[in-house]
C-alpha cells in the first residue's frame, strides 16, 4: 500500500509540474510574449481555462502528503519554511493578478495585474527550483537551495513550448525564437519530482494505521474520474486562442 501511495504522489506532483509548469512559464514570459495590454490579455487567455484545473494537482499532492505521509510535512514544509512562504506568496499574488485583471477597465489596473502575474510566476518558479534542489541535496536549507534556482528556467522554457501551440500564429512566432517543445520540457519537469522523491525516506514518513489504505484506495478509485474531468477541459479548449477570455 505504501508503494501505491508513493506512485500516486509521483503522478500528482509530476502532473502539477507539467501542467501548471506551462502556465507558470507563460506567466514568466508575459512581458516578452505580449508587447501591449491587448496582446498580454491574449497570452493570458492561452492558459486561462487550464490554470484552475492545473493548480489542483498541487493541492491534491499536498492532500496525499497529509493523508499518507504526514511525516513529510515536517521535511518539506517546516524545514523549508522560508521557501514555502515565498512559494505561497508568489502563488497568491499571481492568482490574484489573473483573477482581478479583467474586472476593472483601467490601464494602470491592468498594468499592475500584469506585473503581479509576471512577478508571482517568477517567485513560484524560483521557489520550486529551490525546494527541489534542497530535497535532492538531502533536505533542509542547504547548497541545493541555491543550486536549484536555475531550474526556474525550465518553467520558462516549458511555457515557451506551450505558447507556441496555443497562441495566435503571429504571437506564437515570438515564443518560437527559443527552441522549445512542450513534450521535451514536460518530460524534464515530470522527472524532477521523481528525482527528488528518490531522496526521501518514505518508510519513515508513511502514516501508520488505517489512514494509508483509506487515502490510497479512495484516490485510486476516483482517479479515472479526475483524469476524465481534466481531459474534458483540454478537449474543450484544444487549438489556438483567437480571442480574450474572462480573465
Amino acid at each position: 500500500m505504501e508503494s501505491v501511495a508513493v506512485v500516486l504522489l509521483a503522478v500528482f506532483s509530476a502532473g502539477y509540474l507539467v501542467l501548471a509548469g506551462a502556465d507558470i512559464g507563460v506567466g514568466m514570459l508575459l512581458p516578452w510574449l505580449g508587447r501591449d495590454q491587448r496582446e498580454r490579455r491574449l497570452v493570458i487567455a492561452s492558459f486561462a481555462p487550464f490554470f484552475l484545473g492545473n493548480e489542483v494537482w498541487l493541492v491534491a499532492s499536498a492532500g496525499l502528503v497529509a493523508g499518507a505521509f504526514p511525516g513529510l510535512e515536517h521535511l518539506l514544509l517546516e524545514e523549508l519554511y522560508p521557501l514555502v512562504v515565498v512559494l505561497l506568496i508568489g502563488w497568491v499574488v499571481r492568482d490574484m493578478g489573473l483573477w482581478l485583471r479583467g474586472r476593472v477597465d483601467a490601464v494602470a489596473w491592468r498594468g499592475l495585474c500584469d506585473a503581479a502575474i509576471a512577478a508571482g510566476s517568477w517567485a513560484l518558479a524560483l521557489a520550486w527550483g529551490s525546494v527541489l534542489g534542497s530535497v535532492v541535496f538531502g533536505g533542509g536549507l542547504n547548497a541545493g537551495s541555491v543550486l536549484g534556482l536555475p531550474l526556474a528556467a525550465v518553467f520558462a522554457w516549458h511555457g515557451a513550448g506551450f505558447a507556441r501551440w496555443r497562441l495566435p500564429v503571429e504571437l506564437a512566432a515570438r515564443a518560437g525564437r527559443v527552441p522549445a517543445r512542450y513534450g521535451v520540457s514536460g518530460a524534464v519537469l515530470a522527472v524532477l519530482p521523481v528525482a527528488a522523491g528518490l531522496r526521501l525516506p518514505w518508510s519513515e514518513v508513511v502514516t501508520v494505521g488505517g489512514g494509508l489504505a483509506v487515502t490510497a484506495v479512495t484516490t485510486v478509485a476516483v482517479l479515472p474520474f479526475l483524469l476524465g474531468s481534466q481531459a474534458l477541459v483540454w478537449w474543450t479548449f484544444r487549438g489556438r486562442v483567437d480571442s480574450p477570455s474572462y480573465l
Binding site: 494537482w57 493541492v59 497529509a66 493523508g67 490574484m96 482581478l100 501508520v208 488505517g210
Partner: protein
C-alpha cells in the same frame, strides 16, 4: 519558541481561516442559488433567468477567488506552523484533508474553470451539469473539512501507539456527530448568507429605482425565500450540537470533573474555555434573533409579489441586514474554535505543543507578509463585490453578450 510566536501563529491561522470562512459561506449558498437559477433558465429558456445566472454567477466567481487563495494558504499552514499536529495526529487528521483535496476540491475547481471559460461554448445541458457538480463538490468539500474539524473537537476512531494517533475506525471518523451536525449547520448558514446577500443587493437596486425592476423583484423573492427556509434549520442543527459540546466550553458540574481529570493526567493548566468563546456564542445568538425578525418580515411580504418592489424602509432593512449572517458565522466559529482551547485536539494535544519548531523571526516575517497580503485581498475583493453588485446585470463579465430572446447565441468571445 516563545509565547509570542505561539500567539502570532494562532492569530495568523485565525485570520486565514476567518477570511476563508467568510468567503466560503457565501460561496456555498450562492453556488446553490446560481445552480437553481441556471436549471430554471435552461429548462424554460427564459431570458430573465439567463441574465440572473450571469449576474449572480459573476458575484459568485469574484467571491470564489478569495475563498480559493486563502484556502490554499491554509492547507499549507498546518504543516508550516503546526507541525506538531501532523507529527502526533497526522495519521487521522490528514485523512479527511486528503479526501477533501482529491475527491472534492480537484473536481470542483476543474469543473468551475470549465463552467467559467466554457460559457456559450458548451452544450447548455452540459454547462448546467457543470455548475451542479461544482455545487455538490463544494458541499462535499465542506463536509470533509468539518470531518477534520469535528475530529479536533471530539477525537474518535483512533488509538494511540508510541505517541502517534492511528486511524482504527474510518466510519466513526466520517460519522462523528460534531462533523455531520456542524456540516448541516454551516450549509444552512451558507444558504442564509447567500439569501441575505441576494435580498440586500436586490433591495439596493429596488430602492434606487434602477431600470431592472423585474430582475430584482425575482432576485429579492429568491433571496427572501432562501432566508425563510434556512433560518430555522440553521438554529436546529446548531442546537443539537450542544449534546456533544466539550464540558469545559459550557461550564457547570461536569466541567469541574473534566478539569480535575485533565489536571491529573496533563498537569495544571487553564482548562476552562477563554471568555472570548462565550462572547462569540452570545453574539451569534443575537445575530440569529435579528435574522429571525427579518425573516418574519420577509414571510409577510413574500406572498405578494408587488409588495417586494415597494417599501423603502423594507429595502433599507434588507441592505443593512447583509452583514448579519457574516457576523453570526464568524462569532459562531469563534465560539467553536476558541472554546476548544487550550487544546488543538481536545484532550489529546495542546495548541502550544503543536507549534512548529521554527525561529520566531521567521514566524513574524511570514505573519507580516500574509496579514498584509490577505488584508489587501479582502479589501479589493469586497470592493469588487460591491462595485459589480451596484452595476447591475449589464455589468457582468461572465459569458459573452446578453442572450437572445429564444435560443442562446453561440459566440466565441467570453
Amino acid at each position: 519558541m516563545g509565547a509570542d510566536a505561539l500567539l502570532l501563529a494562532r492569530i495568523q491561522f485565525a485570520l486565514t481561516a476567518g477570511t476563508h470562512f467568510m468567503f466560503v459561506a457565501l460561496t456555498l449558498g450562492l453556488a446553490t442559488l446560481v445552480a437553481l437559477m441556471q436549471t430554471r433558465a435552461t429548462v424554460s429558456g427564459s431570458a430573465v433567468h439567463a441574465r440572473m445566472v450571469r449576474f449572480w454567477g459573476q458575484l459568485y466567481v469574484i467571491n470564489y477567488a478569495v475563498g480559493i487563495v486563502t484556502g490554499l494558504v491554509m492547507e499549507f499552514q498546518f504543516g508550516l506552523n503546526w507541525a506538531g499536529m501532523s507529527r502526533m495526529t497526522g495519521g487521522v487528521f490528514g485523512v479527511p484533508l486528503a479526501m477533501e483535496t482529491i475527491v472534492a476540491f480537484f473536481v470542483e475547481s476543474t469543473f468551475l474553470g470549465l463552467w467559467i471559460f466554457g460559457w456559450d461554448r458548451l452544450n447548455r445541458w452540459l454547462h448546467l451539469g457543470l455548475i451542479w457538480v461544482v455545487t455538490l463538490t463544494a458541499y462535499l468539500s465542506a463536509y470533509f473539512i468539518l470531518v477534520a474539524n469535528g475530529w479536533l473537537q471530539r477525537p474518535v476512531g483512533f488509538e494511540m501507539v508510541d505517541g502517534a494517533a492511528r486511524l482504527t475506525d474510518a466510519a466513526a471518523l466520517l460519522t462523528n456527530p460534531t462533523a455531520v451536525l456542524a456540516f448541516f449547520h454551516v450549509l444552512f448558514g451558507g444558504f442564509l448568507t447567500a439569501g441575505f446577500f441576494m435580498a440586500g443587493v436586490s433591495g439596493y437596486h429596488l430602492l434606487r429605482r434602477t431600470a431592472e425592476v423585474e430582475f430584482f423583484r425575482r432576485s429579492m423573492r429568491v433571496g427572501l425565500l432562501t432566508v425563510v427556509l434556512s433560518v430555522m434549520p440553521v438554529v436546529i442543527f446548531g442546537g443539537v450540537q450542544f449534546a456533544y459540546v466539550q464540558p469545559t466550553k459550557l461550564g457547570g458540574e461536569s466541567a469541574a470533573a473534566e478539569v480535575a481529570r485533565f489536571t491529573a493526567r496533563f498537569g495544571p493548566d487553564e482548562y476552562m474555555a477563554p471568555g472570548l468563546a462565550g462572547a462569540g456564542e452570545a453574539l451569534m445568538m443575537t445575530m440569529w434573533s435579528l435574522m429571525m425578525l427579518v425573516a418574519a418580515v420577509a414571510l409577510v411580504k413574500l406572498p405578494f409579489g408587488g409588495w417586494l418592489v415597494r417599501g423603502r424602509v423594507f429595502h433599507v432593512l434588507m441592505i443593512v441586514s447583509v452583514p448579519l449572517p457574516y457576523v453570526a458565522m464568524v462569532s459562531g466559529w469563534v465560539f467553536r474554535e476558541v472554546g476548544r482551547q487550550p487544546w488543538v485536539v481536545y484532550g489529546l494535544l495542546k495548541t502550544r505543543d503543536a507549534l512548529s519548531d521554527v525561529g520566531s523571526g521567521t514566524v513574524v516575517a511570514s505573519f507580516a507578509a500574509f496579514t498584509v497580503l490577505f488584508g489587501v485581498l479582502f479589501v479589493v475583493n469586497a470592493w469588487l463585490l460591491v462595485r459589480f453588485a451596484r452595476r447591475g446585470p449589464e455589468g457582468a463579465g461572465l459569458g459573452a453578450s446578453p442572450p437572445a430572446e429564444q435560443a442562446p447565441v453561440l459566440s466565441g468571445t467570453l
